[in-house]
Symmetry: D3
């Protein structure tokens, strides 16, 4: 497995035709039962599973992401969420993309696991490719590549609350059970959660909009098997994208 930080310069150089996978996560509260590193672990671990089936280079994970929002992550209302201003993330990702392009690595796949990052990552992709016309950057994430059948399977017992509220809920908890089981405090999973998606956003953030537990939908029903299913299906989806865009 070609983890970039394991490779010497020479080993790296010899792989400039490979796809570089750049995992991007966050440092964000994930309720009482999941650790602050959930998004970063998911991003990085899925990349490692992907590396078992296709020949990629895994770049170091970006572990600080854009600001968590109340109704997709609990936002700044809870401690432990250490996040970046929008401009900072734009510049961080732009610099990294440009440096890969300067070194002749022109196929980059950004695997994002923190929803709030997306618009700022895409701005960076636009700015970097404007500077390096040969550079091609694709961005995706594990939830967008799941097909309906998979979603139905995961939510066969409980209603699907919508992706926005799937924060520290069934999908992320299942993923962590499969990927980082030692970091899940199963006994602390909140059982009743009544967050409600809003058709608007409001600043400053307010406590009455988010459940006290910081979870947006109940994780009850999470299993290791569901986690494995998501990872397998995400990898299938990513491989399809690679075939279409990088081969």
């Amino acid at each position: 497995m070609k983890i970039m930080h394991h490779l010497t310069r020479v080993e790296f150089e010899n792989n400039s035709d490979k796809v570089v996978v750049l995992p991007i996560g966050s440092t964000e509260q994930h309720g009482p039962h999941l650790p602050l590193g959930v998004d970063s672990y998911i991003a990085e671990d899925i990349a490692k599973h992907l590396a078992k089936v296709t020949d990629i280079i895994i770049a170091p994970t970006i572990t600080y992401g854009y600001k968590s929002k109340p109704l997709s992550g609990g936002g700044p209302l809870f401690k432990g969420t250490i996040d970046l201003n929008g401009e900072t993330l734009i510049h961080l990702v732009t610099d990294i993309l440009c440096k890969f392009a300067r070194d002749g690595f022109n196929k980059i796949f950004i695997e994002n696991a923190h929803f709030e990052n997306q618009a700022f990552i895409e701005e960076a992709m636009d700015l970097a490719t404007a500077q390096f016309p040969k550079l091609k950057v694709v961005q995706s994430n594990w939830w967008d590549v799941l097909d309906q059948k998979t979603v139905d399977e995961i939510f066969k017992d409980v209603p699907f609350p919508g992706w926005a509220l799937e924060h520290a809920a069934i999908t992320e908890t299942s993923l962590m059970m499969y990927l980082e089981p030692d970091l899940v405090r199963t006994e602390l999973m909140p059982t009743e959660v009544k967050a409600q998606a809003l058709p608007y956003s409001v600043y400053p953030a307010r406590h009455d909009l988010v459940p006290d537990c910081g979870v947006l939908a109940s994780p009850v029903g999470s299993t290791k098997e569901k986690g494995k299913l998501i990872v397998d299906k995400a990898i299938e989806g990513f491989i399809k994208i690679f075939k279409k865009e990088f081969n």
Copy 2:
């Protein structure tokens, strides 16, 4: 109707307890049958309809928005899309919000009609409210406040392609038929459109991802009545938000 640019300074000052509605649109290609100003007209015209039923101040519309994306607007592949870098939009909206707050106007409703603007608007909301703790800013748009029944009504004859592909399609065309009928070239509506949403984004933009007509779903079936329905329901939704957040 209190259109801010019509008011004198004195008239404006006397309304500092009112909600300021800030419409944000774009300058973006909308296919062969709709004009470049669609998002700006929709944002501003709905604000004017809203002003008929509630006492608000309408701030000048921001008519240049964030970069159009291929699969939600055609992106930079078509001429006529004059859009802003992410940082520019963040600063533009932040400055405006801060100045309203400085003048004692602490209830601001951003009515956005260009999807790609949202993350950058919210970053501005966060930055401005951090500086002005008394300031409260709410952001919404016409599509997020529609209830399922309304969506079903609009798409009773054709399948709903998803909001991302609703670009220059039935909802926007219907809105323009109702709000700005003189600007719709009905005879030029593309009849067959085969855009497909992708579970990823890719830069630089590519022509094969977007239909040649620049429309992402067929506008056939658009009517003035559907436009009116959307406006009426959007206003209902906005009024509900106002009650909850500003009263």
Copy 3:
């Protein structure tokens, strides 16, 4: 008349050899008798008159400008002045100019109606043309193109206070009487105004430097005819510039 926001993408594309006129105004207090939108209305309305005599494309007006200054606009001392930081305006105009250039529109005329904007607009012109060598951008305004005879005619009855103090005074009031008569509160025109230009600037702004009414010279003597004269002469001036620079 080719108002860009009325044009479809295709209509726009077919006019890439035309001059794009970009009106820039402000949202700024203009005394008790004129509305906050004066500079934006003047900029946009003169562009429309210009479009009757020459084949141009009118881009959407920028309606938020650089900070009003006490002795040319009343500055931040009065409510209703919603203005931008210098850097924000530089980036806003730069982005817009660059996008027109990317689309092959290389003749741009910025018609500015808010004096304080000028230096920041010119910085944007410099930055954009450095990136797009084929791009040519001209900037002017209605007051700089008036000949001495016209100025004498307008001020035949009252002394000319200098352009800096012509804020919400005879020229702007006359222009609004001609261009937007419904927005002029003639009965509220201040009759005695004693602002005095200073040979220096001072920050923070202070109330004792500006008349309480927010007007810097008396508008008494304003007429619709003077407004028409200014518009006609401004257009004559602009046409001369177009001939010299764009043909």
Copy 4:
């Protein structure tokens, strides 16, 4: 004379009630007969003359200014003009003002000798005083404080071309003859100069708009005495401003 760079820390500390004069010039071509440092020398030398009659602290001169413009300085068309982007000058001046304020020096007089600097200096003044409410900053220059009688005296033999064209012309040449006589190449003064002010600006800069000599009005008629007159009158003007604003 309290030249800041001559003072020790202790001497400086003891003068926090004094006005700090910050001279700002440029590095800009000034025709064949004047050196590149004209604006910086004039700014600094007048400050030194001022220090003879009032108790001020002279801060180090800023010797790189905002971009020279073709019709007020020859612009980028001539070599030797080393100038700054607008944002750079804004930040440079803001940082300096804020540090003086942090050290308790709250009376700052910016003496500017390069016209193009003014808008960016004033933006810095606004930003710095917003951060330090006790800070008061005044900005002026030698030409704005001259009374009509003085201007008439200087131009008794030749017509006054307007301040914009007074670049490397009679006033600056006379000032240098008085302040830095060794740096004036009298024998190289251009005799016939036919620059013409334009009622617009155009980018990119073009050679046909500016005389080949880089001078915008003939310096013939310059004398040391006129230079002394300008300095004396400027100092009178500055003293008046100090009395009004700082005492």
Copy 5:
């Protein structure tokens, strides 16, 4: 051991009186025998050793650092060095520090393992503490806390080339032998290296200034024991700093 990404929000909250250690490394070529992640591994692994003897929270490592320089890291001349612009690093670290401060974590120790980061980290420390007066941030690294005796011990057999040239040389190789033995390609260590420190810097970077192997001094003589000695002494040094600054 309190690794922040392992902690739940609640566990994290309960430790706001602890010192947060923020390791900062880089992604930088380290010759033919060491991997690209050397600086990041050293920073993070020493933090983990430190956590065994004192009760700290380890924040996620920043794995992309400031630009490598030719004579302290090989610079941009070799592939695999993915680094950030100065402003990006300043903002990245500032944002992170400010968010910890917002959450009430006011004792932060930045453990830097990439020399070139230092000035930009310190700028961030200055900017963040200016915003959060209760925040205290200390920055150090493993080489500055070593005493002379330790340095002598490490270089008892070979001359000390100076810290600047200790890139991928004895100290870093020994550290990696102790901390990450599987990532050292001992058989590829260059034996003869003739880099020479220069009393100046020059841009753009040039190949003739840096040995072809990308190592600046021979790693021959590196041992696991020397690595352990450095770690032990660094931890001793850090503990001393903690006592002085945080207790």
Copy 6:
């Protein structure tokens, strides 16, 4: 001697093959016996001595530098230190370098006399040379080019405290005695100074880390002769660099 601000545009143009020396200093407290301009005077005066032996152009000195740090300059704890944010200095130097390159001056030597400037200057060098590939910029300072023999000679009577603590101490005091003798208050030299270098940095700055006098090592033992020795040796070093890099 070619001091740029003394040259006319034409004289400057004719020297585009020469090395431009850009001195960079600071405005920083230097104890009770040295003035605030020490770094700027040293930078500029050494450049003038250098100009006597080699044909260079001396650009205007940058007299405001990066933030003084407690343990290399006393930092913000003392009044009279007027310094710039890191980004401001980066942009200031980048702009200046780019303008020289635009004018065809591609050999620039930055002679820095304020240690804290270095990283930000080098960032500017990197950014400017990336834009202007023909541009070559070298940066050095008087202390890095001194050989060991010279250092030994200067510190033959007192121990060398290390360069970091050589602030307002023997080397700078000796240099000022030689270069600007009128600005040295010999009688105010602190005799006992007990600053201690720390193996870490800490923010915010604290008074207990720096001697009350603001000097970091005793200047007792400073002589004009030592100052001359440093200048002579620095010039020797610079000439060597010029030969290697610019000829």
